[in-house]
Symmetry: D2
Subunit: 398 residues, 4 copies
């Protein structure tokens, strides 16, 4: 079928509007166009207070905003390197009992003296792939790339003020070589920054080595994908949060014994292994998603950020030591949805707006997730899961 024929098919494109479509008029006109097209009245979508010019760089073809109910959970006492104090965490979701469950864990943790939290490493990665005519030249390239590191670094960093190229590891496979570029990116999520920097470096590599071509993404980078290699790190912040909870608090606030929590852990680890799960957790995804939506994060990052491990351990004193390890938490306090509207307000609640705050945010999130793991774990171990959900509206009998 010739293209001319194909083009004759009428295709009704979304109107872009004038001035790139980010004026109040363009947004309204587009919304009206959609309303006419679908016969749906868009009342709620048009309920927002930011100027439409703010949509630029965040969304195309804007017609308004999506709303997600926002609650607040706390108090959560965090004893981190960057986050020190008591926090009230904004969470956006459409799932009854979620905020109440996290809140319960937060109170138990705060009563226990708070959560110790640390960011172990903080960097981002992108892994382009280079092509070669044969295995021999691919391996030769992989061996010799370190010799060019300084030149490649200069190329990469010429495109950015904030990104620093820290190292490159080569992974030859067949006759291609995947190269893992590791960067520090300051407080930005930095994916766009390092893509641009690496693209520049790749162009230099193809011109100056035996590589015949490159793909800017090889798949090895595990961007927004669930990958086991994330445990070895490289995509965002590795954060750990832990706390010791006295048996009396576990009993009074979570209605179970430390022994029951440990038995739950042991048994459900088996279930997760059978499922072929990456790592182990109760429901990292719930807390991460709720906080990410509230705080203007790139929510799709939940997929890599939710890879991690929860651990419950009985201490010699009979208390419960609980921790979460998150090897790939990708959060930002500048860029994306962090600087305007509800994202900025929610970050403000945590005193996490702007530069030098992303590690603080990471520590708070890890502590919040620990609360959620404790609370849900206790609900399951204690047999209260169903009754708790019925009380908070998710499980009202039909």
């Amino acid at each position: 079928m010739p293209l001319s024929t194909l083009r004759r098919t009428s295709v009704d494109l979304v109107p872009r509007g004038q001035h790139q479509g980010f004026t109040e008029e363009a947004v309204r006109d587009r919304r009206n166009w959609v309303e006419r097209k679908t016969q749906v009245k868009l009342t709620h979508i048009s309920s927002f207070a930011i100027p439409c010019s703010n949509f630029a760089g965040k969304i195309e073809n804007p017609i308004g905003v999506a709303h997600v109910p926002l609650g607040i959970a706390g108090p959560l006492r965090v004893k981190g390197e960057f986050a020190c104090g008591t926090f009230y965490v904004p969470m956006a979701a459409n799932e009854g009992a979620l905020v109440r469950s996290y809140e319960r864990g937060m109170v138990a943790l705060t009563r226990s003296g708070g959560v110790s939290a640390r960011v172990h490493v903080d960097r981002n990665q992108i892994c382009p792939a280079f092509s070669f005519p044969d295995v021999h030249s691919a391996c030769e390239f992989a061996r010799s790339l370190p010799l060019h590191f300084e030149q490649i670094r200069l190329q990469a960093e010429s495109t950015t003020r904030h990104g620093k190229l820290e190292s490159i590891d080569c992974y030859p496979a067949g006759r291609q070589v995947m190269a893992r570029f590791l960067y520090s990116t300051g407080d930005a999520h930095g994916m766009n920054m390092i893509v641009r920097a690496t693209d520049r470096a790749c162009k230099w590599i193809v011109q100056n080595t035996s590589a015949t071509e490159y793909l800017i993404f090889s798949g090895l980078e595990a961007e927004k994908r669930a990958s086991g290699l994330l445990f070895a790190g490289g995509k965002g912040k590795k954060v750990i949060a832990g706390a010791s909870l006295p048996a009396a608090i576990v009993k009074n606030y979570l209605h179970v014994s430390p022994e029951q929590m440990c038995a739950l852990w042991r048994r459900t680890v088996i279930g997760n292994m059978h499922a072929g799960a990456l790592g182990y957790c109760g429901h990292f995804a719930n807390g991460l998603t709720a906080i990410f939506i509230a705080c203007g994060q790139d929510v799709a990052n939940v997929v890599n950020s939710s890879i991690g491990i929860t651990e419950f351990e009985l201490t010699a004193a009979g208390d419960l030591f609980a921790s979460v390890t998150l090897p790939s938490l990708t959060v930002a306090t500048v860029g994306g949805g962090t600087g305007i509207g509800t994202g900025r307000e929610c970050l403000g609640l945590l005193d996490c707006c702007g530069s030098s705050k992303s590690r603080k945010l990471a520590e708070i999130i890890a502590a919040a997730l620990l609360a959620g793991e404790l609370s849900m774990g206790a609900a399951i171990a204690g047999g209260e899961f169903v009754s708790a959900h019925e009380e908070y509206g998710r499980n009202r009998p039909e």
Copy 2:
């Protein structure tokens, strides 16, 4: 440390307010309390039009809503069993170029005649675990459970009008037995429904068999967790969408040849294998998250829903056959955030409000994801990824 001492520590709880805290006053008072506490003015969070009573069952401690910029991508022609027609897909995100990228793929697919989509299975699962004194009695239980199926089914279905228990598979491990309860759940996501039903069944089982106790979740259910077992199905809908794109359209709309797309696929499959990724995709998470936020879904389900496979294949005629296979897409058109506010409006744009619509929604989402895979794949294969992002604002030089 005695509990009495622990309790003496002052802990400043979030005010619940009167009437369970879901009146306009309670929400406003709570918001004001947060503002005072944090010295942050919450202007945007209070910009919404739904009555506060609507928050009940969706969020606790509500203070307002989170906003996510909403754009519209299309046209997307779908030739499904349930979704037949041309759609404009609402997507909410804070990531420039995302909507434009999906739109590009949608137009190419529509020009190619549209996307064939099918829901292969539609069910939900929950996997409780039962304890036994030894391996022998655990295996005995696993063997004999099928004999009790009818009684168990009656127990489970006594709690729900919509959930139907289809089968139970037993997975003994050590001296526990995990049992996989498979349900059809109609148009609801149904997790709460089947948790309650299964909880009832478990109580019966513990009373009537040698099982000594149960956990309502064993971990095997892979709820909101990235698990390889999801490919074998059971958590939500298995949906497949595919299309054949003429080489001329691939070239004109995506700026690459079908051969380039297939080479990209082959090479990045290797990268994903090295990363230990579950399945293979370009960026399912981006499209899923954007549509889930827009359409009032339980967004944390992105973690299981994004497990899947994208495939690009060169046809004998030199065209491109592209498909996505999503074994665990969990979407709903009733319950949660689907019935009110922006969620309902966005579902309305797709004619997916209310009962009998969840499979239609699943087919549309699968087709939209295919568009995103094509567009991002082409941007990488054609070397246009960086320039495209700079044009749409994500990658503006610093």
Copy 3:
């Protein structure tokens, strides 16, 4: 380059010899040819007592046998459904301390009263893939295949007396459909049997449905490959073995406390999760390989057979409950290397020769692996790993 040129290159083929090369002369002549070619004298390779005709169907181009040192570990008391009694297990390996380590665990288990073992399921699978022109017809096929089950079963079973086709599950992906054929295969490993049967069935399917072609293996079957889906079963026997060990025995024979074993388990589970391991074990591969080589098994099956889970648990009484769960143990007591030479003799030691014995063998192997898990776990938990290995010769200081 034309083939005629390529063929001109001299290529020195291994001599096949007369009568298909399985006479004493042919084997000797071939060995002599190899000796001349490589200037290596093959004294040990020619030390064996079976007639060379026995090599037929087991190896091609035979030149003799490989030797692996064979030791005996026991006593191991097993309380299975098929294996009841005390066994001495033959193990072949080149790794000092291995037999001693397994033996230590076996004695501790026997002193504790023995190992409870059960075969939960026993079947084998093969998963061909069928091609279709589009997604629609692939899904249609997947839905309608159950209707043809009886005809397909007749085709498949027409080629075998022992294999019984139990079910077929369809997994559509893109425009192909993978179908999982599950068989019971009696005491044979049965892979060849079910390949042939399924091949016949596939031919019928291509002739009688819309499938355009098939591949006899789709990859889904996980034959001799490490795959997470093996936990859901289908490839061989699912076997579970467990035992309760009194604290005094753990202390006296393994030199650790039950608490130390449980702490080891908890901590190394974390390590295995970080490594992206499938399941959890200490060293299943060691015991499996040693027993498989001894007992004439298809040793490559160790790759799928070693996927499983070891569990250590502290009982309420302060004892240690330990178990292994092996979802995909593929063993045979007929066919392959089980009927002749050392394989037959070793199976004889376990009274596992010939038909009706494969489940007994599976239970013994599971019990033996449990012994190895206990012993190695204790060596690590108690800090004796290095000294134990030095005593038994592996770690003699250089």
Copy 4:
């Protein structure tokens, strides 16, 4: 139950014999003991020519040897960095058609000009775990360990002449820290060497840092376990082998077209993804096991060595480019079963005896596996799998 009671149970231990049981008499007496115990005559097990003293350090409680039929496959032309020439590869197995299948691929590769092979990295790892009282001190330790590297290296290397400690990476998780010790180990497999070295280092660390205790294995090392992290390397040699096969050779020797091979690859990649396989291959385990048994390797290493990727690609000229990537091939040419008996003879056939030969062996094995992937792939793609197996005896109709 008191231990005294437990001990009263009669337990019949395997007789150790005099002089540690490695004399001819001790082996014979033990074999006789087993024969009496089981009423099985052990004729074949006693057919071997090495002196029994050779069993020391390789097996305990020896009673003889296990035999595995040994064939020879070739010619295989390898163009490696260490292996250059034409090889005849010894393979031990009980599986008809296996040697013939590998041989077919070897001839096709040799006719195509041979296989390019390279060892990219060559090192071994062990990952102990250290305990801490809380998250804070664990992270502090992980940060500061690099400062002590030189002292730790001195401790570790004090126990070995051949092992060199190259680096240590820390992976904190909860309140423990796993540390990955990377060593170069010369031609030995080196696991015992580096265990001893690391044990010494760990003792120093516990004495000189805040670590309270250590486990010599954390699980992260992936020793003889199927783990996704092996793709990132560290356990043995990363080897790559590839070749370009002219279409005419593919057609004449493998009976398929390059296009068919690529279609097979694409389709079965999907199947492997569905199965949750680590990487992708046809049957690495078959070739690895057969060569490992023949060459006196530690056969249990097949489990980690078989993790890898096979790739088939259509070249611009219409030929087939095929490769295998093996990130974790653990082979040795000194120690274990490599220095005596059939192991030494088989290594001799490849000119791989003794020091400075392990990389050569690795390159030959990778090339041999490539042959197996081509041959089996072609048998499946061309529909000849069943008929080929019937010809070589595996599939003789019952």
